[in-house]
Symmetry: none
Subunit: 202 residues, 2 copies
DNA sequence: ACCAGATCAATGTTATTTCTTGATGCAGTT
DNA sequence: AACTGCATCAAGAAATAACATTGATCTGGT
């Protein structure tokens, strides 16, 4: 019986950084030393409400979701993260306070993780990463803001359409229950919306 | 979308300890304070190779397996653990060294966990637990040794029969792939063995 | 040459997850 | 009062994944 091995090639991460600014050999070394691979299986928690978010996660393969569970037990998804993107609770990570968010895996997912300590170390030894991470976080910020705007100003149907656009690479990988929880409607209603779309086209 | 809540009655654990030696009210208090409930879902890791085993796990409901993955990616199961038994990597736990073993859930599984620190605390405040845990570990030791002996001296068929006996409570709960990985044969060959058994009986 | 067991590929069986549909309800518009 | 946009609950249907069986073929050790 074979199990998933965590194959540990740092390549995708190095490629990612290189896409911003080429790294020196030494910097690659640093990354190699400070980032650790880790496999999460479907449904497994990466971060649980009440815990401190101790890692920056870079997804190499698979898909994560970050969400909040409200008092009624309803799940609200803040973000999906698949290949070559980052996910963490920045607030909890930097302030070292318990998170009120959850992160878990929607598929078996490989990530590279840096701890807080190691990230500081990285910044100190290779200041270039300040730039990289600044840009990276700015990007996240922008898309978050876009999502907020989108969200507060639209009907369910509009949100659905907008979601299909901005997450087009994921729309046939994600179960509809998850999309519904992102859009903020019930799976049943999403089903009806889709139905309507199909009919409208013909 | 609703998520699973954990129900947290300590009863089974207290009963277990009481089965050794009756506990005082104070001792029960201690147990209540130092053990934490935790739910693992099917396929979820409890311990991952490379991590330090930080908890003693007492299974209340469900079933765990502890295994090692070799260089070829083959899984060798060391132990199954269901209701009212313990599981951990003792070595990693005590020496605080990275484990080379994995533990994961074969079913949704409820455990109570003590951390290293809390366990020491428990021993200090209620020395009676030294006895309890000594006996408990001796028991594990004995069955481990039995397994080893069984293993090095038998054919696959003998190992299968012996497994059916000593794990009789689990034989219709465990998938055969898992049993095969315990016995040390391929699932296909196990299937044939079982077939042979059935035929032999008629 | 034979036996215990592996490997590979195909197929069958069950269980689990996901999706759809209908019935009904309810709070805000118009 | 009726209509729209959504929720809730229950039941089935459809899709997928997990598990089991079987046949064919191979291998290393006696």
């Amino acid at each position: 019986m074979k199990e998933n091995l965590l194959q540990t090639s740092l390549e995708p991460l190095l490629d990612y950084f290189n896409g911003f600014i080429p790294l020196s050999g030494e910097e690659k070394q640093l990354v190699t030393k400070l980032f650790k691979p880790r496999l999460y299986r479907k449904r497994q928690y990466v971060l649980q409400e009440g815990d401190i978010c101790a890692q920056f996660n870079f997804v190499v393969r698979g898909c994560l979701r970050m969400y909040k569970v409200d008092e009624k037990g309803n799940t609200h998804i803040i973000q999906f993260t698949a290949e070559n993107w980052w996910l963490m609770d920045i607030g909890s990570f930097h302030l070292k306070t318990p998170s009120e968010l959850n992160i878990d895996a929607l598929e078996d997912t490989m990530v590279f993780q840096v701890s807080h300590e190691n990230l500081i170390d990285l910044y100190t030894r290779a200041p270039k990463f300040n730039l990289i991470f600044r840009v990276l976080i700015e990007n996240s910020f922008v898309s978050l803001q876009k999502r907020l705007l989108q969200n507060i100003s639209s009907t369910a149907e509009e949100r659905y359409l907008s979601f299909m656009q901005s997450y087009s690479h994921l729309t046939n990988r994600l179960p509809q229950v998850q999309m519904a929880a992102f859009i903020g409607i019930t799976p049943e209603f999403l089903s009806r919306l889709r139905n309507k779309q199909v009919k409208a086209k013909s």
